[in-house]
């Protein structure tokens, strides 16, 4: 019975099927490996590009639109204005965010002093952010002049691929803070880095409880001529030290 032409044919068919299966598994595994390598390279590429961009970063200006979403009531509130960022030393970024309109106010960070200017009171309130200085620098303007290695050191980064946001081609990164104390206040950050400027076009800070804060940047200019006074708050305003 085993020597019948039917059994021989079955053996041939079986071995041919087995060979095809082996080739298929090999090809799939190869593709999978190639895809994994491709993603890994892509993230690594983004980091090295951010590293290079951070080296030449001295400042930036942009329009800013911040949407604050309150989850339980599904409500959005929007503030709009401009932002100017300046690298004052290799480890220090200063910024000035100027909101206009009904809720006009300006927020500036200089060293370890966070200043909030209230135009209707013509007052600047100064807060010593002390040990939170680094957090303020790195969080409020996350991605501006920030090397990729710093992102990787502080966050678990997932690359969600290319997206077009604010009419700019960008790469979408999902960041999960590594520090438990940051994670308590900030469950996740989504960051869209422009492929053209290597600066964020959009940041989305996910807060506990379904709230989030979405900052969208437009008309970004990298390393524009920024005079020393570009980040100054009005000189005539009264200054109040709060802590």
């Amino acid at each position: 019975m085993n020597d019948s032409p039917f059994s021989k044919g079955a053996d041939v068919a079986r071995s041919s099927l087995s060979a095809r299966l082996t080739v298929t598994i090999f090809v799939v595994a190869l593709c999978d490996l190639a895809a994994t390598t491709c993603w890994a390279q892509s993230t690594a590429e983004i980091f090295s590009r951010l590293d290079r961009a951070a080296q030449s970063f001295v400042g930036a200006t942009a329009g800013i639109r911040v949407t604050t979403h309150t989850g339980v009531i599904d409500e959005d509130e929007t503030q709009a204005g401009t932002v100017a960022v300046k690298r004052s030393s290799p480890d220090e970024i200063q910024f000035l965010i100027n909101f206009t309109g009904q809720d006009a106010q300006a927020i500036a960070l200089r060293g370890r002093t966070l200043q909030i200017y209230y135009p209707k009171l013509n007052t600047i309130r100064e807060y010593d952010v002390g040990k939170y200085k680094d957090l303020a620098q790195k969080l409020i303007l996350l991605g501006f002049g920030m090397p990729g290695r710093e992102l990787a050191a502080n966050y678990d980064v997932s690359n969600l691929g290319a997206e077009r946001v604010q009419s700019e081609d960008s790469v979408h990164l999902q960041l999960t803070p590594k520090a438990p104390e940051v994670l308590k206040q900030l469950s996740r950050v989504d960051l869209w880095i422009s492929l053209k400027t290597n600066c964020p076009v959009q940041q989305k800070f996910y807060l506990p409880g379904g709230d989030y804060r979405l900052a969208a940047y437009s008309d970004i200019k990298i390393n524009p001529p920024l005079p020393a006074s570009a980040l100054d708050l009005p000189k005539a305003a009264k200054r109040e030290r709060m802590n």
């Binding site: 009531i73 409500e75 006009a104």
Partner: protein, 335 residues
């Protein structure tokens, strides 16, 4: 020093807890600790009030805005009608509620400290306010302004720092809190009892550390003062110690004498210190009644006494050793 600082710490926290209870709410809601990202002390939307009103057992919701004024002072923005519904209303010693946008109401202690009367003007947050009323202390804050005015001036329209809720039956407060905590993770939601219990020394880490530092300094200062005093005493009594030794007094006898004197000084010092706390209490009550409140914390009397005795005895060790080691002949010839 220890008793005064502990008294001020307890007094300030108890006063804050008393004012929080005076609001008349059952639940307080505070924003998540994300003010650094928002760069605001008032990040909650007024839209949350309608949401809270729809929750089971919640019968009333109102919010306030708190603007720090530096030091211990703050200015609270309130919707007076809403707040009166919640708290039963302010009891005015003089004047009345807000009439104009620039009106503020102050409590009697703040009025006394800043020498304010109805119609007086006061400069707060670089803005001139007129005092419309002086109310009995113990409700929410020492200085209150119109909520919408404060929101406009600070460029934070429709924003709140704290939300207070009233429930149909106080025993339901805990279940409402649990329900809200599930719906709004990250927000700080407490029953008023829980919130008041947070305003204690053991809950405020910074204050606990501060008291620890003060005790440490007090022990060191006490130690140095007693060391200096007893060392001087030993030097001044060199001849007497020499005579005692010549008469056969043992080292233990001389040490006993010195330590008993030290103990007496420590006990007298403690009693005088306790009496002096009443003096500082009176001084604060009359000079800065709104800024500092000092309480008499009886349970700290024995603690302060023990710290003083231990510090003093430690300080007496070196002079005692010096006295014991004195040579009799040299001591007798000491001029």
């Amino acid at each position: 020093m220890i008793l005064t600082l502990v008294g001020v710490s307890y007094g300030t926290l108890d006063e804050a807890a008393r004012r929080a209870r005076g609001v008349g709410a059952d639940i307080v809601v505070r924003p998540p600790g994300t003010s650094l990202i928002a760069a605001s002390s008032s990040p909650m939307s007024e839209g949350l009030l309608a949401f809270f009103m729809k929750q089971p057992h919640v019968t009333f919701a109102t919010g306030t805005m708190i603007q720090p004024l530096g030091g211990f002072d703050s200015l609270s923005g309130i919707d007076l009608d809403q707040f009166n519904k919640l708290s039963g209303g302010f009891r005015f010693v003089k004047g009345h509620g807000f009439q104009n946008d620039d009106d503020v109401m102050v409590d009697e202690y703040y009025a006394r400290e800043k020498n304010l009367g109805v119609g007086s003007t006061i400069q707060l947050m670089n803005h001139t306010w007129r005092v419309s009323g002086i109310f009995e202390s113990g409700k929410l804050a020492r200085v209150c302004a119109k909520l919408d005015v404060l929101q406009t001036l600070t460029g934070s329209p429709r924003k709140l720092s704290q939300i207070y809720l009233k429930v149909d039956d106080p025993p339901h407060a805990q279940s409402v809190v649990n329900d809200l905590r599930d719906k709004m993770p990250g927000y700080f939601i407490y029953t008023m009892d829980e919130f008041a219990s947070l305003l204690t020394i053991s809950s405020v880490g910074l204050l606990r550390n501060f008291i620890g530092v003060v005790i440490g300094i007090a022990v060191i200062v006490g130690f140095l003062v007693v060391t200096m005093a007893m060392y001087t005493a030993v030097l001044e009594r060199t001849r007497e110690i020499g005579i005692l030794k010549a008469l056969g007094a043992s080292s233990g006898y001389i040490l006993n004498l010195l330590f008993r004197e030290t103990l007496l000084i420590a006990v007298i010092g403690t009693v005088v210190g306790i009496i002096m706390t009443y003096g500082t209490q009176w001084l604060m009550m009359h000079a800065v009644p709104a800024t500092l409140t000092q309480e008499t914390v009886y349970e700290w009397w024995p603690i302060a006494g023990a710290i003083s005795v231990v510090g003093a005895l430690l300080g007496a060790i070196f002079p005692g050793w010096k006295a014991v080691k004195q040579d009799v002949i040299q001591a007798l010839s000491y001029e």
